[in-house]
Subunit: 223 residues, 2 copies
DNA sequence: ACAAAAGTGTTAAGAATACACCCATGT
DNA sequence: ACATGGGTGTATTCTTAACACTTTTGT
């Protein structure tokens, strides 16, 4: 109604994957001010003709070379008000949480540097992006406990040890091997494939598969 | 950057309280098109000089006479893209979830009709507001199970039966009285005040109080 | 033969569920 | 005296938590 101006709408993405059993987040180096050369979450303005989801998809490719369909899951996380330190005026930022595996960012026309950083060793980021990543990590912790979302961090075929490592990386705690297996197998989310992972100087490990590669809510919470 | 136009930013509120042990939601009747005379969630445009939270606060008073400090809790729920049926073009709506008790909406300059409706008997609402309320109710169900948020629905002094009724209204299921009491008292969130609720033609009921009237996360989930 | 990760079971404590009767008051 | 909601305990099942040794492979 009338002539009210509303804030600018931005989108930002917190994209997680595991690298060497560490939860890691995709960052891109800013090409301009404000915060030129600082690392930041991939994001940008949401143009009027795109939904925030669509804008996120496009911007992610443009800035990091990562396509949303490489992700196991992407969902809205939270909307933050007024980007701190943004000299270009009031804004809201709709933040998405994405989870994937084996993602390799590429240099693009607009951004020459993008890479994954362990959440344990983040540099000081642009805007309030450190805070946003902490929030996303908390949400992910909760989510692996009451859904099967861990699938998004794992390859199609995986060993129980890989599964446990993924949980441990997200939850930042060590779990008991026997109890972990008993409990997780009891959820009925995965099945053994009959194949084995050979390779190390040790006994081969059964390879498992998720029954469904879509988000499911668990009746009994996990951990 | 540059000359990109972004969508309009709206805020909307889903304000719950109990009325006759039914979970009810605050609606206001639209004074203009689109959807003139339809019931709708209180909401409006977020002007550039206000955060979405601040805009929510102001708009809630303007449209329904309800002040945010009458609510036990208010928090961001979700951001919906492009208000369906909004002829005024693309928009995002940042939706807040509020919970209170003993709230009486008042007619205001801009809106003559505001009232609570049981979520079980909602009329057909403007935009996608029915869908948003369903989503908010789901979230509330989850939230009463892993936080103490139920306090926001109850008076300061309350009986265990009132507490159980509140859970039952939110969860839409019947709980066992003895198990409910054992479990809830075991959480250590409330304490008896020594006072009693006299009145009915029956044994007086102990009155309890929450230890803290602020959101707490439970170690063991509830129900 | 040794190193390295895979795999496997039992016991004890705590939590969840199912279930029925007496108590204190108002009328 | 009776109607109404308040208040209480036990037995069973299921879940969680703690804990250590054997197996299979590569070198």
């Amino acid at each position: 109604m009338d002539e009210v101006k509303t804030p600018e709408v931005y989108v930002d993405g917190v994209i997680f994957q595991l690298i060497d059993n560490e939860l890691s987040v995709l960052l891109t180096q800013r090409e301009r001010n404000p915060f030129k050369d600082r690392w930041a979450l991939p994001g940008g303005l949401d143009p009027i003709e795109e939904t925030t989801y669509k804008a996120m998809t496009r911007i992610l490719v443009e800035k990091t070379g990562v396509r949303v369909n490489q992700l196991g899951i992407i969902e809205q996380l939270y909307t933050f008000d007024t980007v701190i330190g943004n000299p270009e005026g009031p804004a809201v930022s709709v933040v998405y949480l994405g989870i994937g595996k084996n993602i390799t960012p590429k240099a693009t026309q607009s951004h020459r540097n993008s890479q994954f950083f362990s959440v344990k060793q983040l540099p000081e980021l642009a805007f309030d992006h450190n805070k946003i990543i902490t929030y996303a990590h908390q949400r992910l912790k909760a989510k692996v406990s009451y859904t099967n979302v861990i699938f998004a961090l794992l390859p199609q075929l995986f060993t129980l040890s890989q599964l446990q490592d993924a949980y441990q990386a997200v939850l930042e705690e060590v779990l008991d091997k026997r109890n972990f297996r008993k409990k997780f197998l009891g959820l009925g989310l995965i099945h053994p494939t009959g194949e084995f992972h050979m390779g190390g100087a040790h006994r081969p490990a059964r390879l498992y598969k998720f029954n469904k590669l879509a988000l499911q809510y668990l009746s009994r919470g996990f951990d």
